[in-house]
Symmetry: D2
Subunit: 336 residues, 4 copies
């Protein structure tokens, strides 16, 4: 992308004589932005995740123009050279034609895109808008439709991996949106993640994220119940984990992130369930899964119960513990 020669350009144009006007238009848009490499990239939402992500963009040489509702959140990236604007996504959109948003939930995304100072108020034609928030896929679709009316492209690209992966640039991005825009999106996302997976039409990035986390929650609670039951039946926890992991009960929660203290090193269960992926965040994602299942009238009995269990845990003081603490939640001894 960085060292294009006219020769390449000619070859590409050569191939173009058979394409129709619409495709050509898209090509030009993509090509323009690609050429625009190292031009400013907007970043909205400099929270726990957004901060290290923006830093990785800076590290890769992209000029960043950032904004956040909390001005102090932008200090770090400002010191690293980013231009900072006080809580005004519209102004960012005026200055950058590639923008990444990383926000806590659907209402924030709606506000940042369609609010009075929203991106869409001043978005330039041909802009590429990438939302890495985890939100309801139907909201992603709405944003994409609104952007399209203004000649801009919206893609959803939620991440898997936590603050650690964000800092080390090892996130996984699950990307939904027009396939012909994927290359341009990948250029930026590759600076922040190790895997950038194209999932399909807009909203499917969210869908993949939500699906994965729903199955993850089910696997984690299932592993916790199973380990707990096995221990009560006299099995050694390490041996039980070993047996499960060589059998059909095997899952990521049993073989990579075991919730039982002492079975594995370097996981939150070994550290009193600190760090990792908070119960409250899992409850949020399961809420999205639940809403999505409800809206598409899809039965999801275990996903639904997993949601309820994480919700109960939030009500009982586990909100900020790692989600593998469900083992502890289920296990404590009876009074008598």
């Amino acid at each position: 992308m960085k060292y294009q020669t006219c020769a390449v350009l000619i070859c590409i144009i050569w191939d173009f004589v058979h394409l129709n006007i619409y495709q050509f238009h898209n090509f030009v848009t993509v090509f323009t932005r690609s050429m625009a490499s190292k031009t400013q990239v907007g970043f909205v939402g400099l929270g726990n995740m957004g901060n290290p992500m923006a830093k990785n963009l800076l590290k890769h040489g992209y000029p960043v123009i950032a904004t956040d509702v909390f001005p102090e959140s932008c200090k770090e990236v400002q010191e690293l050279g980013a231009q900072v604007i006080v809580d005004n996504p519209a102004e960012v959109a005026e200055k950058a034609d590639r923008i990444i948003t990383m926000l806590p939930s659907s209402p924030n995304v709606i506000d940042v895109y369609t609010g009075p100072n929203g991106i869409l108020k001043k978005v330039k034609k041909g802009s590429l808008l990438i939302d890495s928030s985890t939100i309801d896929p139907s909201v992603s679709k709405e944003m994409a439709a609104a952007a399209e009316k203004l000649g801009a492209v919206f893609m959803d690209a939620p991440v898997s991996g936590g603050v650690g992966a964000a800092s080390s640039g090892k996130l996984t991005f699950m990307v939904g949106g027009a396939e012909e825009e994927f290359t341009a999106a990948k250029e930026l996302l590759s600076c922040m993640g190790a895997n950038v997976v194209y999932c399909g039409q807009v909203g499917t990035g969210q869908a993949a994220k939500i699906c994965n986390n729903m199955l993850l929650a089910i696997g984690m609670i299932g592993t916790s119940e199973t380990m707990n039951l096995g221990i009560r039946l006299g099995l050694d926890p390490k041996l039980l984990a070993k047996i499960l992991n060589m059998s059909s009960g095997r899952c990521w929660s049993s073989d990579t992130y075991n919730p039982v203290p002492g079975v594995m090193e370097g996981v939150p269960s070994g550290n009193n369930y600190q760090g990792g992926f908070g119960t409250q965040l899992m409850a949020k994602d399961l809420g999205l899964a639940q809403n999505t299942a409800t809206n598409t009238r899809t039965p999801a009995p275990l996903g639904s119960l997993a949601h309820q269990i994480y919700r109960m845990m939030c009500a009982r003081g586990y909100a900020n513990k790692d989600f593998s603490s469900v083992f502890q939640f289920l296990r404590e001894e009876e009074g008598q």
Copy 2:
């Protein structure tokens, strides 16, 4: 017993000077039986699983003496050289000091061991009794206690793997019982299985089996819900499976036995859910898990709901389909 060489015996006795009498007694027992290789092995329960298991014992050169409530079940092994006795476990126990039992459920095991014609009526001192049925671990413990009173050893050794694995001698045995007897048990079980895992005290073989199958059921239903939800949200099933399998949602049901037709080859979902592990059998194992959890007062919310779902499936015509048919059960389109 019959073919000892003095040299070996002397070496072993040499090591024995530091052992106490009890250990010596055990040693002699174990040694006796180990040496007894190729003496008769009893086999009670020649059903779908027991039949190929007994054949594999014959193939490995063990004389087999078999019995079953249905005499015709014994025909095949009889033709292969087994001695057959008409429905009388006690008589088998009179003639063989190593017996394997493979029965459908707890009441059958109780009857075969402690009934009027039960093994324990005529069991010889020092006999090794291995039960490969999948039953309640508390029943295994009862049988072990009853056998011990008569000077015999009872071990539980339930299997994982179906009729195919039984035929090809690729079963996995999960073995519970006195550790010093494990070698003797393994000698026989290795003829019928590829993995023989020692799990701990008597009953822990059952515990491991039950735990694995509970987590398997949870993973399978979870995978089915998740795939179904993803498909409804516009994801391609193969792509979704790929994403899950490289992420934290990964489990055996998603990466090895995917329940969605067309995602994987060589699994029951590709064959209209025929073959494999029947829904009714899974419901039975989940019933055991449920009883065990109830009796040990262990919460198992997802395992419990998984049990209910497989129970509902049995009530709705899925009893004889592979347990991955839960995908189909959850998915069918709405009338309107």
Copy 3:
């Protein structure tokens, strides 16, 4: 407005000397509309429920001006004297200052109120807008806020009772909105229902409806499981129902709408689960409950599982049967 007598007005004004300006303004609004009895009432949504409701308004002497997306739905009320407008809620709002809406779901309500031809496009100041649809309470709140900006009043007034109760004017209305408007709303709703209950601020009518139906679904499934279990344990169903109904297991589903055929007369279980309240409608209401619980981060484990069960039933051919058919769904005999 048109037929006030000075005497009444004077008495009322007499009481008014202690009221502040704001209250006086409200009084005038309410008073005006109350006096306006027998002026035109708008009706949007002439479906299975809306049709008999509008007829009851006509019966009570109210001139009705009706509209629906399907013009043919308005034929019956037209023949009974209603003025009919072709699919244009805005035009209805231009002509009537009291409007009742009865629509299938949240998106329809949003469209009828805020769409291009929506009520709010032409609503008159001081109008009373009553929505009897069952929708998400957060949508009711949005509609109320939008109406308030235009000087109109929006109340939610979902119903309990089906087509039969709608025809006989025996519905129960659960009403949310400004308390000072309740009298005016009740005047109209009393023509269509036997009970009109004030629930609190806007949205609480929906909340009450959703809560009731969630508990109803739980009670119905619970009764079905319990009756089924009791029958399998050898109890006579009528006797079991009698015992439950005199004990702490008693609920509406056991004593008034028993799901077991033969236990009670005049209920859908006695008529092959025809008529009554459809499984699909229950699934919809439980979906609302689920969304509402998720959005307010409220654990609702049984409500959530009830939702899943009704959703599974829809997937298995029960969509149009009465919701008490869950007894049948859970009960069918096993194949073997």
Copy 4:
């Protein structure tokens, strides 16, 4: 029963000429015991429930002969005139031909009836054995079969109502067993309870008890979720309870034993969930329901989840609170 005249006796005998010998034998047995009124009644199990029950027998003039594993449990009834035997049910059976047992769980019942010092070791022909423990109905059937072999009659008669009802003689007895013995059983049970309901063959008393408590648990959790959801949606709890109680959501837990503090007086929710029916006891009964459902292969999804929730509560410190404390368990506010 007490004031028979020869005339009556003659009439009865007159009717007897058409009866066969077996029936006559039964008649004589029943008649004999009935005549035996005010002869000694055995009582095994003088715990929290058994103590007040035995006292009520004494109050009604029955000589009581009591035993318990804890001799001190018998002190009170001894002071009131009961004959006490040190932990020996067999000896009680030697002296009394009507015995009531009130024990904590199935294993205790098995021991008291069939153990080395068990009732059946010395039971007299024609004795009436009434077990008021709440246990697995299959154990009741086993005991009945064992008693029948010895010419004695066993009936199950579990109670509903707690220590208060036991003291005031207001228990409800649900009785299973031979119908022709019901009159004799009722004579005794009426001294201790206000309702004595015949449920059918042996085991159906347990079945009725278990079914009622399963539905009760479902109703209680359902009511708690519903009230909690309604409150979060802005409804006043008293108003919501009122609406539910006049609608289809109505159940015993909403209208008689509401779990929300302040809604109702004189219930445990108004007293910090002290007194009432403990969570641990409910968990035990739900465990019985679960085992019974599993053994009869009956789906019970909500009953099963209710069991899990009460089990989780036990693990989280609610074991000794009233079972309506599930409202508190589900409700506590989130940390953040």
